[in-house]
Amino acid sequence: MKTLPLLLAACLAAASAGELTGRQVMEKVRSHNNPHDELTELEMRLVDDAGRSRTRKLRIEYLRTDEGLDRTLIRFSYPRRMKGTGLLTHEQKGRNDDQWLYLPSLRRTRRIAADAKTERFVQSDFTYEDLQPEDLEDNAYKLLRSETVDGRPCHVVEAVPRSPGGYSRREIAVDAERWLPLRILYFDEGGRHVKTEHATEVRQHEGRFWRPDRVEMADLEREHTTVFLIQRRVIDGGIDPQHFTLRFLATGR
């Protein structure tokens, strides 16, 4: 009897999948996860192949402007030598995003190359490309199959970038009811599976946004893992647009 609900869910997912393309699945992901602003405070743990762990604490603020462009501010609070370091990104249409890095020890704000997508984010297993919001125009999507991930029925979508990036393709397992990616497999230029991203401890915010409280990225090649542990999340709480200025990046005010 217990298998009946699961079977029903799988059938629903299959039936649903039969009606949806890969692109449509990703459009639903975007429409269900499209806040105006979002604040996330998290702890990032870097675990090497010997099990040694390093911790970073950061705060991520996100805002979608009236023009539909993304603004992101990342501020580090731990370790203490990184306290105050900030990274501000202004999405641009038709050209590279603007990105500035503030280093408190130098009292300087530096423009950096936002096009360096394959570079790792503060030596973690996430690259800047991994952390950017999904841009549906940058990829070709194809629905591969249905699959159960962590007990959740999922659509598995293949994403192939339209221009060269860090990966030849990704397999994104999207929760068929919550429209949240639960697992992403990353494949390199040679088609080898090199990284796995896994979202767990999923909770609902503001009655409609599903978000994981834990995201783990495992780099299979260098046997290294990065874990994001979300400490606090506020969605559509009203972040002041002034937080996404060069003034705020340098002064925090």
């Binding site: 203490r80 030598r81 423009r111 780099d219 996404f244 060069l246």
Partner: protein
């Protein structure tokens, strides 16, 4: 001493908040600090100083004390002591007249008020203008401490700064510096001296008087347009390095009935009025960062050269050259062109501080082995005249989250009269231990 009393009085306004939260929680939120221990071993000695080892201790705190929604007091007390007596005295009451660092002072101490798009700061401040990495000809508001040439740092100035923020990326800033502070370097008594050990000389300085007419002013406008950051700056003030001239005394080597000759008695530094117009930019192209600065300095009264200084640089990162390992390169070219030659100097060579990059390549290479260790090589190559070089190879290891170890060397080489070659005997190894809290 009085200014420290008012600083503490204002700072106490934040005491109730600290008491309510508990000092530890308050400091975790509003403060941070760094404790340093550095040991240096010199390979050789110079006539001025044969000591080969030096130890330094330093405590550097930052306290961000909110006073209201729009105001705060920012303090950066700094305590340092070393075995070479580069630091002396408890407070910097007479820092304008001393060639030693104070053991205790405030690196920064200012009141800030932020009504709307305005930001006002009053107090001891350090400014950082310019976009380049190793050399900033547009960054002229702060003098520098050159008591250890390889470890030079900015000296704070008492200033009123007003900034108006027009939009996300555009700002206008005006800075008034009412009291002149000269750069700090040793005359003859240390291995970093720019003057020979003999004959013994007295050093004196003609500091500009503290008056409204001698106030220094800096103006800067900065913005960002379609992926380009620009700023235009203007400085009206004094050359903080100083122009040295020899002073002489009458001397009768054969006694009172013999001939009288003039012999060097000392060096007097004059601080010429200068005006500097500067421009800098930064942009990126694909994965490459591009930046540059140019500044022209006019010396009033043609007492010294007027000159154009510039620097152009690129930076690039090779990500994951091996899994988890990155290589970063910053490469710059710096030059200078004299546009108006000043009068010949009276037998005293200039220190060349502030003007030693006149056909030079600056580089910084960082190889990140993993998230805790990196190798770094930075250097300067002066190519005009006799080639001379400075190199600093270093290995940095984050032993713990907040404990960092740095091992390295400072290497000077070149012809004896060249800027870096004169310090050829100052090559050294160093160990730096830093604890952040």
């Amino acid at each position: 001493m009085k200014k420290y009393v008012w600083i503490c009085a204002v700072g106490l306004c934040g005491a109730p908040a600290a008491a309510a939260q508990g000092p530890a929680a308050w400091f975790a939120k509003h403060g941070r600090g760094k404790l340093e221990y550095k040991v240096l071993w010199h390979e050789g000695s110079r006539p001025q100083d044969s000591r080969k080892a030096r130890s330094e201790f330093r405590l550097d705190l930052e306290l961000d004390i909110p006073l209201s929604d729009q105001a705060r007091l920012f303090l950066r007390p700094d305590v340092r002591w070393d075995t070479d007596h580069l630091s002396a005295g408890l407070f910097d009451e007479s820092r304008r007249d001393t060639m030693r660092r104070p053991i205790f002072h405030f690196q920064e101490a200012y009141l800030e008020w932020r009504p709307g798009p305005w930001e006002f700061r009053l107090g001891e401040q350090i400014f950082a203008w310019g976009t380049a990495d190793g050399y900033n000809p547009t960054d002229n508001l702060n003098p520098r401490d050159y008591l250890d040439l390889a470890d030079s740092e900015k000296i704070p100035v008492f200033a009123l700064s007003a900034t108006y923020y027009l939009d996300e990326v555009t700002s206008l800033q005006a800075v008034l510096v009412p009291f002149f502070t000269p750069s700090r370097f040793d005359g003859q008594d240390s291995r970093w001296s720019f003057f020979p050990a003999e004959p013994p000389l007295d050093f004196d300085r003609d500091l500009p008087a503290d008056s409204l007419s001698n106030m220094q002013v800096g103006l800067r406008a900065r913005t960002s347009v379609r992926g380009w950051d620009f700023s235009l700056s203007y400085f009206d003030g004094y050359n903080d390095i100083g122009r040295p001239t020899l002073t002489y005394e009458r001397f009768a080597p054969l006694g009172p009935l013999g001939p009288v000759v003039l012999r060097p008695e000392g060096v007097r530094f004059a601080y010429d009025k200068v005006r500097t117009l500067g421009f800098d930019f930064a942009t990126t192209w694909k994965h490459v960062g591009l930046h540059g600065e140019v500044a022209h300095t006019w010396t009033d009264g043609d007492r010294d050269d007027s000159y154009l200084q510039y620097v152009l640089g690129i930076d690039y990162t090779w990500a994951d050259i091996r899994p988890g390992q990155n290589l970063r390169l910053v490469l710059e070219y710096a030059g200078e062109e004299v546009t108006s030659r000043g009068p010949e100097r009276d037998g005293v060579p200039p220190t060349r501080l502030g003007r030693y990059l006149d056909d030079s390549i600056l580089a910084r290479i960082v190889y990140e082995l993993d998230e805790t260790r990196k190798l770094e090589l930075k250097g300067v190559a002066n190519l005009r005249g006799d080639d001379n070089f400075y190199l600093q190879p270093a290995f940095t290891w984050d032993l713990r989250e907040n404990l960092r170890l740095k091992l390295g060397a400072d290497i000077f080489t070149g012809a004896g009269e060249s800027f870096f070659g004169q310090f050829d005997d100052n090559d050294r190894f160093f160990l730096l231990l830093q604890y952040y809290f």
